[in-house]
Amino acid sequence: MVDNFKRSFLVALWFVFLTFPLMVVKVNTLKNIVEWRWINMLWVAIGAFVLSLVWRWAMARRQLKSKAAEIGEEGLVKPGLGQRLLEDPKVFKPVLIVLALVTIVFPLLVDIYQTNIMVLALIFVVLGLGLNITVGLAGLLDLGYVAFFAVGAYTYGVLNTFWGFGFWISLPIGGLMGALFGIALGFPILRLRGDYLAIVTLGFGSIAKIVIENWEEVFNGAKGIAGIPRPGFFGAEMNIASATTYTYYLMILMVLFTIFITNRLKDSRIGRAWMALREDEIACVAMGVDMARTKLSAYAFGAFWAGLVGVVFAARNTYINPNSFTFMESALVLSIVVMGGMGSIIGVIIAALVLILMPEYLRAFSEYRMLMFGAVMVLMMIFRPEGLIANVRRKYAGRTVKTEEANA
């Protein structure tokens, strides 16, 4: 302990020395004098000291944990708070009920602006869940995921401007178009792995954006498509406020729908094949899994969700242009998956809400957004590489069911 304090003290001194010219000395060129801001030195010292202490504490804790895991005493280390929340039904149920209530009354309590941001966050929840299939379950790194999002959004935009298609018809078409493009991207990269896969998907994302930007006749180029109608409700007239609330509830339903379907797939023959593909491709193929079909279905299914919410995104904004579909969005969705925990559904939801809502509510720090983003990622990789909520493996009941059948 004393040693820790001593070391932190030295670190603080070192930082004071390092930041001295920046933080303390200031040359006032107008008055030709040097200002000495000694008070800053104090802040730097205190800040460095505290951070260093916290860092040391966290590292020590982490080491303790990995040691315990090494000697097979994982049971002694308490599972994280999130894990306990999920596994204990006594805690889980009330939390779920409260959450459900909050979600339902949310738009009634806050103004349109907040609801609108929440809709965006929910869109990213679905995007995260979709990419989670490709990256988290099937282990296929996809850096151009936003391309499918764009496919969905532009499907609605184009169908609406040229043929006057409504939201509800465009929604499934957008999803299917996304899946179709997923397969189209999947074919050429069936044989690729790791870094190469990442580069090709990255290229695909860029190509999609460039095509949209330059194909004036269809996509209206960089000007974008404006005047896209919001989701309709049996032709009812809605003002902006009620339309936003409506979109919000629509997105809630869509998130539930996504969770339901991805959950079902995860615990099925298909989901297991995806996971096996992630773990070991050669063994997976040698065990009789058709690699091409499994990979393509993972791409198509991940892309389907992006296409689907792409339509909602276009309807929410009523205006789309290529700048909404840059690499930043792909990276953001990927960070959501990584931060939430590969393959974990609840983790992805939390991460999506945090990563989308945080920048909105911390507008004051918007200049430092990327800095904080990076810091959060680095810290995550060090302390929770498995994500906020690690994917808990399902246990299958075999014996009991069988004996019951035998008795019957």
């Binding site: 023959r269 298909i270 996971m275 773990e279 193929v285 040698a286 058709d290 493996r393 299958y396 069911v401």
Partner: protein, 278 residues
Amino acid sequence: MPETQPILETTPIPETRKILLEVKDLTMDFGGLRAVDAVSLNICAGEIVALIGPNGAGKTTFFNCVTGIYKPTGGDVLVHPPEKKTQKINGFKPNRVTTIGMARTFQNIRLFQNMTVLENVMIGRHCRTTTNIVGAIFRGSTTKRQEQETIDICYDLLEKVGLVEFADEFAKNLPYGAQRRLEIARAMATDPFLLLLDEPAAGMNPQETKALDELIVRICNTEQIAILLIEHDMKLVMNISQRIYVMEYGKEIAQGTPADIRSNPKVIEAYLGEDTDA
């Protein structure tokens, strides 16, 4: 689909044997290197056949050619599945070869590390089940029944290899010997008529090797699965195999019963050396 039978000590091997796998003059070139040179091999039903040879003799390459991981440069691989017509499987994809009924294990264990032991075995059932995306989403009665069947079969298999208590454990947390057995169980889940084991005893201690030895004989006898194994452990090979093929520098240099091989001067020179008493 194998019925779950009680494990018997021994079952008589039928006298009239049917050839299951017939490899004719299999050749595999990697650029200028001929890794496998005109190797022929037959495996009959109910037989345990060993393929031995010094390191780098081309045994694993031979395996990879037969199971479709490599496409052989020359020669034929013919399978005669029981109750089905003969197929020539050169250049078939590995998953098709497995679907026909030949499953394999790997020299360097290739388990699905972050999946549970049971799920590992369940992957083996993939090619014998049919649930598609629609079925998985709606989870109808057919899907449910199939899923439960899969689980039951896999539990049975785990019981056979003695891993039931680890069913919900991650595969990566198993001890080494258990991982080897899990690989065998996973391969058996594909309902094979021929099991190809690539150095199943590598890295095992004598007790584990003995247990494995018994397991392999039991699989062959009670499940009616023929076995082709690559192995360096001479004791295991001599104990359990009925016929042995010997390879050196990609060529087949001898074949015969363990007794023949033991006294074959060519083999002794190439491979066994002073280890003949083993």
